[in-house]
């Protein structure tokens, strides 16, 4: 039987395999996109490229304790790219990206990624400025800023469409709710 896609890299988490932005920037750019959906490594290299080019997004940076700040940097048929600005109070909640792969490059501050585990409830990984990681559509996570002033570049391929949000009922039962990506990146103010 062919190995499950879920078995790939099962020893480590995507955030634990983060790479240096400086060494990966320039490998994939908005100008040389392949004209198809990108895999997690390609997305990682794309966000590294954008992270290394603050001139394209620095004017969009802003912070708000109550409301995470978003800016759309690019969208085409295969990939959408966002700038996110964080404070420790900003929290994505637990979510997945349905069929999309994704990537995160931290350009300032530090992000905290949590992943669900059945045995212990969760694993926390910190990703500091200058590092980037990619993940597949099977990835479930929760992100928040470790320090005020954290800034990150995110990319998704195919562009986000539906997402899963997770909640725990009062009885402790985990539930998934299918939502439009707008609930994540164009939410209510």
């Amino acid at each position: 039987m062919a190995p499950s896609r879920l078995s790939e890299h099962e020893e480590t988490l995507p955030a634990q395999r983060a790479v240096e932005i400086a060494t990966h920037a320039g490998r994939v750019t908005l100008e040389n996109l392949p004209g198809r959906d990108l895999d997690p490594d390609e997305l990682r290299d794309l966000v590294a490229t954008l992270a290394a080019d603050p001139g394209s997004w620095a004017h969009l940076v802003g912070f708000d304790d109550d409301q995470r700040v978003y800016a759309s940097l690019h969208r085409d048929a295969h990939v959408d790219v966002w700038l996110l600005c964080w404070t420790p109070q900003n929290d994505t909640g637990w979510h997945d990206h349905d069929t999309s792969s994704g990537a995160v490059a931290v350009v300032a501050g530090e992000l905290v990624e949590n992943n669900l585990t059945v045995a212990t409830g969760g694993v926390e990984t910190r990703v500091g400025a200058g590092r980037a990681f990619g993940f597949g559509p099977e990835h479930i996570h929760r992100l928040n800023g470790a320090v005020r002033g954290s800034v990150s570049v995110h990319a998704y391929s195919p562009p986000l469409w539906r997402m899963g949000q997770y909640a725990v009922s009062s009885a402790g039962v985990l539930r998934r709710v299918s939502v439009s990506y707008a609930d994540e990146l164009r939410p209510l103010d």
Partner: protein, 341 residues
Amino acid sequence: MAGIDVHQHLWPEELVDRLRARSTAPYLRGWTVHTDGEPPFLVDPAHHDVGRRRAADSRAGIGTACLSLSSPLGIEGLPRAEADGLLGAWHDGVRGLPGGLAGHHRGWASVPVVDPDLEELSGLLAEGFVGVQLPATTLLTPAAWERAAGVLAVAEAAGKPVFVHPGTVPAAPDPVPGWWAPVVGHVAQLQACWWAWQALRGRELFGSLRLLFAAGAGLAPMQHERHAVRAGRQMTLDRDVFVDSSATGPQALDALVRALGIDVLVLGSDSPYADPLAPAALERSQGEAASRAIRTVNPARLLDGVDRWSRMAGHPTGRTTIHTTNHTTGQGEGRAWRRVG
């Protein structure tokens, strides 16, 4: 926050009177409409009763409704003298509705196909018409868009959008059912207009023009993969080219969101020919955040060009895509995602 419906039809008394006075298409006899291409059809007078329509909007959570001339009647393409009289009646009728051009009902300006008066259009837009509507039949090819450049430039200079609305459908060579024109003819027109704009690379000519295509541009955006294969060109999303939701349902909306994202979808119901998307129905289909974007935030940006989300982030230009959100925990059952374990 009340919804903004950018695409409704209501015939003011002035226009109805003018249509009844005519003896060649388009004309009205009683409430039966006669056109050149489509079979005669009976209109429900209640559909053009301002009070009833406003009450229906209120029930659907619509606070502003932008009225559009019914381009399939073919008024814009009549000889100038005839077109001018009917278009004048249209503009006068919209002005005469309760609240004038700033009331619950607002209006799209329309221009004749032949030699439109650009100064007059400029005046209509300055006066308060929300933008200018062009029949899709006048924009079917790249060259046709170029011929409309004068009108497009006036709209761009005024900071007002251009609305591409289905136009007349020629009589079919064989018998077809009554729904043929809206389901087949109008969709084909809108698809042609969408691709003609892309083929022209219209954005390079009109850098800040905002466009609205009716009915999801006939779902042309779903053909982008075919276009990429045949044209060898990938398209980047243009946030100033909007499509409305008229006569679409949850599946078409889902497909449009997948192809275009959420920021260019606007509520345009085509009422009374289709029902406005009631908040509850839209939320069931797309969720609360998408519903709010489609019903209020995006239509407001279509009409005035201001990105309200950017203001919240303190961005000075007001034209970027900044948005902020609140993901703090403990906001109630639906949105409280507390940590597991």
